[in-house]
């Protein structure tokens, strides 16, 4: 059984007992424990069930690489699934539950999958998709849905807050082991600004556990001294509990700092996501020990050898009373020695190598530990916990030589450097035969913007293992300097062992787990190879090897070695899968940061916004703007409000907040020439004081934006754009001015937000302005399509006689700061004339009644002005304008193009949005041919019937024709093609 020893534990504080619950069971640990250490201290060997077969699973590792011991953490707004117990710091009151079992951890029905495992081989999902055909939907999917999925989805709103911060440094050192500390010291002493981050709460990495000696003192003393030196340096920033999730182009690194995971609810942000920009990254990220593939290597109690050592040294937790060590290298002997010296039993060290002669095996033998060479585990015995091992020869097929009782197995298959940060941005790897590992190929690093190396590795991440080599490598990575002297035991050569025993029959290979979390076994990878999956990337997806939340930290190298063996190809030829960020999962809250609820995105509000809100306007988003859709009165539906607003505007006077309308000033000696290129018609000859409607196209000739242009003075024009288009059109102007016609003297300024613009619309509009008084707004002085500066009610105003409704209409611009006051003045002046505000929906209905197009409704990026009967706004005389050449393409002149028409149902009903007009026959894809579609459709309160605009093949040449249109539900209706101008066809009302 696993237990807490009465002495030792370098990280725990025995004076700070902490109580927590696991599946409702009360347990105790100490301050400084990880949740995994505390669970083991309480003899909780069984911590979860596997994903596919629901096999009992225990803690395997002691760090971020843990595949099994994932739990649901917390409750309510602090509930989060898939939390690794090995990286969760224990705190008093912690609650967690195990995952992936039903009805209970001890008794799980899903374990039947285990006995049916021969029916769930590699590619199971894909195979069930295919045949028999009915089976996926009715048999497999319901089963898979019931049993699949790690953890539960949180249901409540996250109770915590998260923040994000930016930082910059010359050198970012990732990893707080001796390599990272030495690299940071070296770079900091050279005057660089240095960030040093460590994913755990502690410093020193493996060296402090393994007892290396640095500069004549224990590693721990050297680590503490190094940390103190760094803390005193002003050019060094140190962050623990901070994980580098990914490295990206040109030194951008995303780091997740777990500020308050261990002190929930203390008021601090739970995580802080650093967006770090580093001149260079030094990845001192260490190495991860590999499991060995023997039958039953997933039974609770089978752990990585170094993890067994970590629990013993750091937390005084013994994984078992009797621990069998199985290895292919010398490092695992450190575990045997540490256990023995702690007074625990090590019945045997099984070493797959034929002979061992290193310093560590000698020390183990001297302690009286039995060492068997050339030996392997044939099979681990036990169910929910290890009860013993059967021993065989590594060279054979698994014939059992001896059985030994034990309650834990410590395994080591060698070490793999953590190369994620190196590989994320393109660093290449090379195969190192001596260590049987992929290590960074320092000749082919990821490239920085200046062509130099963006990432360097230091220490075990480079593939070196002895403390002396680690420190030398780290010093070199940081630019060179004095290397501290270090000693540790000399190690003999390791020997790769990918399957144990070497000739294991399929019955054993079916019980050898490669990927614990996704339940991928040696036999699955071998099956994939037999079925033709020769690429490691394909095999990964077919078997799901390495695709779980641990991203194959333990399984990738073992899996591809098995694949290489099955393919009789050398490992480097098979290669690795792609390393992708994040290194360990980053919670969505950290990525969202403060951007949630009210500040999810920036909002644009007009100067009159507060009035709209006070009037209970129903707001709709228009781009980032918030605009009133309508102003419903008590008891009114939105539809009723829109009808009232439209009718009142047609019969009395309406008021529209048009401030969102784009306003761009174009000024300079060449401004007229420039606008003639930008618009399809001529703007240079517009007289000062006059307005003209214009169209802008892209270079393909497709309509992009429209609006009224006003000539302000000899070299100044003001271009109105659509509300959503002002930023885009301003950028479009700048692009042409800066990149094509850079010798033209033109300046542009987007003044959209500098002005409030208010439309006073309707037959009584003039009376309202005359009541305000100050300037002559008569037809004679200020006729349609002219503008004038003056004062209205004491406000400095620029008044445009332009109309998007067909009514007598004034659009009045005042400085934004006076917008609200001017609006209030208009409201007061308009009261006696029955003036009412109207919203964007009313605006749409009014313009549709007049057949005015709306960019984005009648246009979709494939429509030219000619399609919309706007040929009159295209200059025939101009040699060139943007889009002219594009419009000359023959197919755009085809009579078959869909062109703008008005549409009406025969019974006056409203045509549903999205309706299409089918045409006889089928197209090449077997779909029904079409001959038109609706682009805008409304109920017209003015006319008392449905009206619509649409694009129909042949356009107005088919005036009067009745065609069939389908609703979205497939039913059909008869629709008549009519003039798109439904109201006041002669345009008399706007010109009074």
């Amino acid at each position: 059984m696993s237990t807490r020893l009465s002495k030792g534990g370098r990280l725990i504080d025995r004076t700070a007992p902490q109580e927590f619950t696991f599946n409702g069971k009360r347990m105790r640990g100490f301050g400084g424990d990880t949740l995994a250490a505390a669970l083991l201290a309480n003899d909780q060997m069984l911590v979860g069930r596997s994903f596919k077969y629901h096999r009992p699973r225990g803690i395997v590792a002691s760090g971020a690489e843990e595949p099994n011991a994932l739990v649901n953490m917390g409750e309510g707004g602090r509930f989060e699934p898939n939390q690794r117990t090995t990286t969760t710091e224990l705190f008093d009151g912690l609650t967690c539950t195990s995952q992936n079992h039903w009805p209970s951890l001890e008794f799980d029905v899903g374990v039947v999958n285990n006995y049916a495992s021969r029916f769930l081989p590699a590619g199971f999902y894909y195979k069930t998709f295919i045949h028999p055909r009915f089976a996926w939907k009715h048999v497999f999917e319901p089963i898979v849905r019931q049993s699949a999925g790690l953890g539960k989805v949180p249901k409540d709103r996250d109770a915590d807050r998260y923040e994000q911060a930016y930082a910059f440094c010359d050198i970012l050192v990732v990893g707080g082991g001796v390599a990272g500390l030495q690299a940071a010291l070296t770079a900091a002493k050279a005057g660089k600004s240095v960030w040093l981050i460590e994913q755990t709460a502690h410093w020193g990495g493996r060296a402090v556990v393994d007892g290396a000696v640095i500069e004549g003192q224990p590693a721990e003393a050297w680590v503490n001294a190094a940390l103190q030196t760094l803390e005193r340096m002003e050019n060094v920033t140190i962050r623990s509990r901070c994980m580098a999730a990914g490295s990206y182009d040109h030194g951008y690194v995303l780091c997740d700092e777990k500020v308050a995971d261990h002190t929930p609810g203390d008021g601090r942000p739970r995580h802080r996501l650093w967006r770090l920009r580093a001149g260079q990254i030094i990845a001192a990220t260490g190495a991860i020990e590999r499991p060995l593939s023997f039958a039953g290597n997933d039974i609770p109690g089978v752990m990585l050898a170094a993890a067994v050592r970590d629990y013993l040294v750091n937390w005084a937790v013994a994984a078992g009373d009797r621990t069998v060590v199985v290895t292919n290298n010398d490092d695992a002997y450190r575990t045997a020695i540490a256990l023995k010296e702690a007074g625990l039993e090590v019945p045997v060290v099984l070493d797959a190598r034929a002979s061992v002669s290193g310093e560590l095996p000698a020390r183990a033998r001297a302690l009286g530990i039995r060492v068997e060479t050339g030996r392997a585990i044939a099979k681990v015995k036990g169910g929910k916990r290890v009860t013993g091992v059967a021993i065989c020869a590594q060279a054979g097929q698994g014939a059992v030589i001896e059985e030994i009782d034990c309650d834990a197995v410590a395994m080591s298959g060698g070490w793999s450097p953590v190369v994620h940060l190196w590989s994320h941005c393109g660093g290449k790897l090379k195969w190192d035969d001596a260590q049987a590992q992929f290590a960074p190929d320092k000749a082919r690093p990821p490239i920085n913007h200046d062509g130099g190396a963006l990432v360097l590795t230091a220490g075990a991440a480079s593939g070196v293992l002895s403390t002396a080599d680690v420190l030398a490598d780290a010093t070199e990575a940081a630019g060179g300097g004095a290397v501290p002297a270090a000693q540790d035991a000399a190690e003999g050569a390791m020997e790769p062992v990918w399957v144990m025993p070497q000739g294991a029959p399929v019955a054993l290979r079916m019980k050898m787990w490669l990927d614990y979390q996704n339940d991928v076994k040696v036999s699955d990878v071998q099956l994939a190879a037999r079925e033709g999956y020769t690429s490691v990337e394909h095999t990964k997806r077919y078997t799901t090897l390495g695709m779980a939340t641990d991203q194959g930290k333990l399984s990738n190298i073992n899996g591809l070695a098995v694949l290489a063996d099955s393919l009789s190809a050398p490992i480097p030829q098979v290669g690795t899968t792609t390393f992708r960020p994040p290194y360990t999962p980053v919670t969505i809250g950290a990525l969202a940061g403060e951007a949630r609820v009210d500040i999810f995105q920036p909002l644009r509000r007009t100067p009159i916004h507060d009035w709209h809100v006070a009037q209970n306007a129903y707001l709709e988003p228009v781009g980032l703007w918030q605009r009133p859709y309508c102003y419903p009165r008590a008891g009114e539906t939105h539809e009723q409000a829109v009808h009232r607003e439209v009718k009142n505007t047609r019969s009395n006077v309406g008021l529209l907040d048009a401030s969102t309308l784009g306003k761009i000033i174009v000024k300079g000696p060449d401004a007229g020439k420039f606008l003639d290129m930008l618009y399809t018609n001529v703007m240079s000859n517009l007289a000062v004081g006059k307005c003209r409607y214009g169209l802008m196209c892209n270079e393909q000739g497709f309509l992009s934006d429209d609006g009224v242009v006003a000539r302000i003075d000899e070299d100044t024009w003001l271009c109105h754009t659509t509300s959503g288009g002002s930023d885009r059109i301003h950028a479009w102007m700048e692009d042409w001015l800066q990149c094509e016609w850079w010798d033209w003297q033109v300046y542009t300024a987007n003044v959209t937000e500098q002005y409030a613009q208010i439309a006073v619309v309707g037959p009584k509009a003039r009376q309202v302005l005359e009541k305000l008084g100050g300037m002559d707004v008569s037809k004679e002085t200020l006729p349609f399509m002219q503008w004038a500066d003056g004062t209205l009610g004491g406000f400095n105003a620029r008044v445009y006689r332009i109309s998007f409704s067909g009514e007598l209409s004034y659009e009045i611009a005042v400085p934004a700061s006076e917008g609200r006051a001017f609006w209030d003045a208009l409201v007061a002046a308009g009261a006696e004339f029955g003036m009412m505000p109207y919203g964007t929906e009313g605006l749409h209905v009014l313009r549709a009644e007049k057949g005015f197009i709306m960019i984005g409704d009648e246009t979709d990026g494939t429509v030219i002005p000619q399609d919309l009967n706007l040929g009159w706004a295209i200059s025939k005389k101009k040699a060139d304008y943007l889009g002219k050449r594009g419009q000359e393409r023959p197919y755009l002149a085809s009579p078959d193009r869909w062109k703008l028409v008005g549409l009406e149902t025969l019974d006056g009903s409203v045509i549903p949005d999205g309706s299409y007009a089918p045409a006889p026959g089928m197209n090449a894809n077997g779909q029904r041919n079409t001959q038109g579609r609706v682009t805008s459709t409304y109920f017209s309160p003015t006319l008392g019937k449905g009206i619509a605009m649409g694009l129909v093949k042949g356009g107005l040449s088919r005036l009067g024709e009745t065609i069939e249109m389908t609703r979205l539900d497939g039913s059909t209706m008869q629709v008549k093609i009519v003039d798109p101008v439904f109201y006041d066809k002669e345009g008399e009302k706007q010109n009074v």
């Binding site: 040109h250 913007h449 850079w742 060139d880 050449r885 594009g886």
Partner: protein, 107 residues
Amino acid sequence: MLLLECPYCGVKAEETELTAGGEAHLKRFGPGSSGEEFEAYMFARKNPKGVHFERWRHAYGCGKWFLAARCTATLEVFGTYPAQTTEPPADLVEKIKAKRPDWKGTK
């Protein structure tokens, strides 16, 4: 997240401050051009693996368009320069040739 130095304001701008504008040094073909010329101008793009010239705008900075020469494979940036030119500066071309002997040049 690329870093590109704006040649106007000198800011080492992060990609989020910039908007991308596609291939640089395209020649505009307007009315009177052939179908082939117009097609090449509108649609044909080099898309090389290696040295490439691109348009970028310091949109959330000084607002200026500039051009950048970079390697699309390694992301090495050879240089940035103002947009008011029809071809890359000679010294930049020399610098790229020195770093990429296999590069065939801009023509």
